[in-house]
């Protein structure tokens, strides 16, 4: 069975080879300066010339988290609809009604989320 997947494996292998080559080439071809003793200014992350205040624990807006939750909800909707879409002609009216009910239910949730302002970026 795996034999028929050979092209996909070849592409993944080629991609990995390309990636390893590209990522490591600079250490071979580029100017070789010791990474251990970076001067303080050079080792800082870029911050428009100000001394860096980065401590490593970043905080980010709750909106990003909200988007991730909504994504899970709607991506699962998409995944459930794909098999129905493939077999829609075979199952006919039954599958159609099921799909409409499923999407309608999700749209109630969607309207709720919209009304509560979760889709407004803050």
């Amino acid at each position: 069975m795996l034999k028929s997947y050979l092209p996909a494996l070849v592409f993944v292998g080629l991609g990995t080879a390309l990636a390893v080559a590209f990522v490591s080439l600079n250490s071979v071809l580029g100017p070789n300066k010791a990474q251990g003793n970076l001067s303080r200014a050079k080792g800082d992350p870029y911050e428009c010339g100000l001394p860096s205040e980065v401590k490593g624990n970043f905080r980010f807006g709750i909106s990003f988290y909200l988007i991730a939750m909504l994504f899970i909800l709607f991506d699962i909707e998409v995944i459930f609809l794909y098999p129905v879409a493939v077999q829609l002609e075979a199952f006919g009216a039954f599958a159609l009604v099921e799909t409409i009910v499923f999407v309608a239910l999700l749209f109630v949730a969607f309207a709720f989320v919209w009304r509560r302002g979760a889709l407004d970026w803050k």
């Binding site: 990636a19 600079n26 994504f71 991506d75």
Partner: protein
């Protein structure tokens, strides 16, 4: 089921030697398109802005991509002190590997189109579109990990933006294809192209086409949606701390993704290899249509201003998502009734 691994069916597979050979050829051909697009991108955009674009290196500046790569190769490998070095190296690798792996499903021609019993595609797996989505989703980890592990504020903000943008538009993208899948009754890309012999899906599925193209622009971080690397606000977004060939890797992954998206648009909506002339011209039609879509990418880049982030999010969730869902429902009714 049970303990055994379950694989999706592969509709047609040649001998191992042919499979490896054709994979290598497709890989080489698609990788040749990358510098062409890189060049066309800058040249066409230059012309649209009444300037020449690169014209110093080689005839008409055609050697510019090679010069760029040589320059990037001669740069120092730099990692800021606040970074996580192994993850910073891994992130662009994920991007490029996922981008290259997706090339495998692009169908350039049907089985036996150029003689012999050889399909002119990497693999015709029965879950075709899902394969593209799977590797597309995997490539999100590139910007996300890269920005996070750089240990820089700009990188981190850029990577969070990239993650939120990519997942938002992936939903709309997935929904926009439902109409095509319902009409074709299969997920295999070769099967979908076969269904378009009479009429290209762009005509009945015009709404799905528009949503898919817009979402495709957002998925590849192209200009109206290039907020993850918005120069005016975030320096260079998740790429800020990257330099040399690692930056080049991200850059190349982005262009391979653009080629993949244009190939998917060609396959799903523009009739793939169907076109006037004998069957053997099929792969040429695919490449020609791909270049037409790629020209659209450049055109939009020269035309559109960048969106604001809240505009981007409302476009994804409040416009494209309902539009794609309605399109799917209408198509479902039409498919069942007729």
């Amino acid at each position: 089921m049970g303990s055994a691994l379950v694989f999706a069916d592969v509709n047609f597979a040649e001998g191992a030697g042919v499979q490896i050979l054709k994979s290598l050829i497709i890989f080489a051909v698609v990788l040749q398109i990358v510098p062409i697009i890189l060049m066309a991108d800058r040249k066409v955009m230059g012309r649209m802005q009444s300037r020449y674009g690169p014209n110093r290196v080689g005839p008409y500046g055609s050697m510019q991509p090679i010069a760029d790569v040589l320059k990037l190769l001669s740069k120092e490998q730099f990692t800021p002190r606040s970074a996580v070095p192994w993850m910073m190296a891994l992130a662009p690798m994920i991007s490029i590997t996922a981008a290259v792996a997706t090339i495998a499903i692009i169908p350039f021609g049907d089985r036996g189109m150029w003689g012999g019993d050889v399909g002119l595609y990497g693999i015709d797996v029965s879950i075709g579109i899902l394969y593209a989505f799977a590797f597309g989703a995997l490539s999100f980890y590139g910007p996300l990990l890269g920005g996070w592990s750089s240990g820089s504020k700009y990188s981190f903000l850029g990577s969070m933006r990239a993650a939120a943008q990519l997942i938002s538009f992936e939903v709309a993208m997935g929904l926009s294809l439902l109409g095509v899948i319902m009409s074709a009754g299969t997920l295999s890309l070769v099967g979908i192209v076969d269904q378009q012999a009479g009429m290209w899906f762009v005509v009945p599925q015009i709404v799905g086409f528009i949503v898919f193209v817009v979402a495709g622009f957002a998925e590849t971080n192209r200009v109206p949606f290039d907020l993850p690397e918005a120069e005016s606000e975030l320096v260079q977004g998740y790429l800020t701390e990257y330099g040399g060939m690692r930056f080049g890797t991200y850059f190349m992954a982005e262009y391979v993704n653009i080629i993949t998206i244009s190939a998917l648009v060609t396959t799903l909506f523009l009739g793939g290899w169907h076109g006037p002339g004998p069957d053997a011209l099929g792969p040429l039609w695919v490449i020609l249509k791909m270049f037409a879509v790629l020209f659209l990418f450049v055109w939009v880049r020269a035309t559109m201003p960048r969106l604001r982030y809240d505009q981007l999010m409302s476009l994804g969730w409040k416009v494209l998502l309902p539009l794609a869902t309605l399109n799917a429902l209408v198509t479902a009714i039409l498919v069942v009734v007729t």
